[in-house]
């Protein structure tokens, strides 16, 4: 026992690096949110800590552990896990974080509670201070099921809460958790007798946590060591011995019922391969229609906003500013450049709204199942559908979704083909290249987006390596939660605005300075500037695309920092507007569609697969995009 309590102490010690916030080494509670995938851990984390981590209605959204301090509590959000014998990479990460926990909040999805208890039992074994928090109770009720938190609590021997996140937070801060009425005949409890003799975990928790002191009291520590004992002796086999979830005891059936298990009519539709695929294509086409069709909402709002920012606000400033240099800097540099990109907010919002609805309604999860057959042909699995569809929002974010994959080759392959999915930031640029030629860019944009999707799927066929397996939970199809949709949309649009007003604006300022001064720092015409001299050196590689204007060449290069820069730079350097031939326009679009993604996607890729492979992928991609762009110009020129 001495040895074991040493281990318990060491475990506490292990938690130290997490608990220390800079130099202020104040004792703190480490509260880890653990549970099955898609139980709602990140949603709870966001509510408890006022964060905005990415959530979604499918299994495996969170792929790395994240932590945040609130008062003297460190909340840790970990990827979903089914057991401590991890099957995928993220499960291992979750298991490591849990070892450092003072308190574990086991987030349990009411609908799949029966399976979740498997993990709950394992968690109680590892750490006595487990609180079970129930989510999706409304969905359970709609399904005709019920859950009795008190009865469940009596069975498990730990608190089971069905309160709101706010109430939970209050309880954690004050340390006043409900007392557990332990049911001795409870066949679900784990090592209960030993825990009772060690003064009871629930009592230990409440006593120890008062006044913000470390949760683990002496009694609590004893609980942990005795709980640890069974884990030690049984080793990895403990998982199996915990008892099958299928053996639904009479005790449990009094406390819980999952309700109706059959599919609803509309669910059956979305799992039908033909309907699901047709629905996806139709929904995409409809979204593009609303976003890009000239008389529709997206394009209409964009024009209105552009008028307001560039002509309205910009024009107003133009009249006020007397100094020629300042006027050019503010109006042509910042407002025409960054402000022009800001005008794309309505269109980006509509596009992202569509993606969020697909995700939150569970349709994306159904699609990942249905399209698995396509992905199997290119040695990927339906899980890649999540990654690719997320890629329409942001490539860097999509890259980190590949962590849930089991096969490493499949991960690398997905990361290599992801940049071909046009991200949200490419939208303003496509429109910049297409609008000089097409009064109605809707058909062209549709073709480009579907080309990108097809290209990424086809290309992964050519990349060698092992196949991805697929054993994945599929979520229910139903009406999306509007609050989740609203939060995600708001966060995404806010991110876009912040990026444009900081990053892109600074880029515009730098571009303006370089393009309006010569080497002697004299204010000159754009054609005599430093930027012109530098850009002319690299311009020849764009000649075969029919691009002889150094300003377009420079704009394309700025895209590697952030794609929004391309549109901003063109608006800044070419105020009179682009005039392109069809061949030039298509060649530019081909280049933009296939060229490597931005610097943040590069960084995300380095984090996942290392610098060497990332550099290799990007080099090949760059060469390929030039060849494609050259070919497009040549072939369209023949017509």
């Amino acid at each position: 026992v001495k040895f074991l309590s040493c281990i318990a102490k060491r475990n506490q010690h292990c938690g130290k690096p997490i608990t220390q916030k800079g130099e202020g080494a104040k004792a703190a509670k480490v509260v880890v949110l653990a549970g099955n995938p898609n139980a709602g851990k990140t949603t709870l984390f966001n509510a408890l800590t006022h964060s905005n981590l990415k959530t979604g209605n499918w299994h495996g959204v969170t792929t790395v552990a994240k932590q945040k301090w609130v008062g003297d509590i460190v909340f840790v959000d970990v990827p979903g896990m089914y057991s401590f014998n991890g099957y995928s990479m993220e499960e291992g990460e979750a298991a490591r974080a849990i070892l450092k926990a003072d308190v574990i909040i086991n987030v349990v999805d009411c609908l799949t509670l029966k399976n979740s208890l498997n993990l709950t039992r394992q968690l109680i074994k590892k750490n006595g201070n487990v609180i079970v928090y129930l989510t999706k109770q409304k969905a359970l009720r709609n399904n005709g099921g019920f859950v009795d938190a008190q009865a469940l609590s009596a069975n498990l021997g730990v608190p089971v809460l069905d309160c709101t996140a706010k109430q939970l937070k209050k309880m954690l801060e004050s340390g006043s958790l409900p007392k557990v009425e332990i049911n001795k005949s409870g066949d679900l409890s784990v090592g209960l007798s030993s825990r009772l003799s060690a003064s009871g975990s629930a009592g230990g928790f409440v006593g120890g946590s008062a006044g913000g002191a470390p949760v683990m009291s002496v009694g609590g520590a004893a609980v942990m060591s005795s709980g640890g004992a069974s884990v030690m002796s049984a080793g990895g086999a403990a998982v199996m011995s915990a008892g099958g979830a299928a053996g639904l005891s009479s005790e449990l059936s009094k406390a819980y019922s999952g309700g109706e298990a059959t599919l609803k009519k509309w669910e059956r539709l979305f799992y039908n391969k033909y309907f699901a695929l047709l629905f996806f294509v139709a929904a995409m086409a409809f979204t593009f229609f609303v976003t890009f069709y000239p008389t529709m909402l997206g394009a209409f709002l964009k024009d209105a906003l552009e008028n307001l920012i560039v002509r309205g606000f910009g024009g107003w400033l133009y009249g006020r500013l007397q100094n020629e240099i300042v006027r050019s800097f503010v109006c042509e540099g910042i407002i025409a450049g960054a402000g022009g990109v800001l005008a794309f907010i309505p269109q980006i919002t509509i596009l992202y709204l569509f993606l969020t609805l697909l995700d939150e309604s569970g349709i994306m999860s159904a699609l990942s199942f249905v399209t698995d057959g396509i992905f199997e042909k290119v040695n990927l699995s339906g899980r890649a559908a999540f990654s690719l569809i997320s890629g329409f929002g942001c490539t860097a974010a999509a890259i980190s979704t590949t962590r849930g994959y089991v096969n490493d080759d499949a991960r690398k392959r997905t990361i290599a083909v992801l940049p071909y999915i046009p991200c949200g930031a490419k939208l303003p640029v496509f429109l910049t290249f297409l609008s000089p030629l097409f009064k109605n860019p809707f058909p062209a944009v549709c073709v480009l987006y579907f080309c990108g999707l097809a290209l990424s799927v086809v290309l992964s066929k050519f990349l060698k390596g092992g196949e991805e397996e697929m054993i994945t939970e599929i979520t229910r199809v139903g009406a999306p939660q509007l609050s989740a949709v609203k939060n995600k949309l708001f966060f995404y649009v806010k991110g876009f605005i912040i990026k444009v007003t900081t990053y892109v604006t600074i880029f515009c300022m730098a571009s303006w300075l370089l393009s309006h001064f010569n080497w002697q720092f004299k204010f000159v015409e754009v054609d005599k500037s430093m930027l012109c001299a530098i850009s002319r050196l690299v311009c020849p590689i764009f000649y075969p695309m029919g691009i002889r204007d150094w300003r377009i060449a420079y704009a394309l290069i700025t895209g590697f920092a952030a794609k929004e820069n391309v549109a901003a730079t063109i608006a800044l350097l070419i105020p009179e507007g682009l005039s392109l031939s069809l061949a030039q326009s298509l060649s530019l679009c081909a280049f933009l569609l296939t060229c490597p993604a931005c610097i943040s996607a590069f960084a995300a890729s380095v984090k996942e697969v290392g610098f060497k492979l990332t550099a290799k992928i990007n080099a090949v991609q760059l060469a390929l995009s030039f060849m494609l762009a050259y070919a497009a110009y040549f072939l369209v020129g023949l017509l």
Binding site: N85, G145, T262, L263, D372, I474
Partner: protein, 78 residues
Amino acid sequence: MGVFDLRVGDSATIVKINIDGGAYERLHCLGFQAGAKVTVLSFSLFKSCVLLGVGQTRVAIRRGVASLIEVSPIEVSP
């Protein structure tokens, strides 16, 4: 017989799961055990994957792994 021999809508009882390691662990945690009842909810495009219902849980499983799950069909009384 394997789950892939069933048709959409059919239910069966799991007899044996001939897998070990991580894949078994995952299936076990999702409720796949000898004696459990599974229902075939759908097949994916090109029949690469089957969607099985086990209690409230819905799981997509590739042909390779799914064929290692031995089942005996449950006769539905008319």
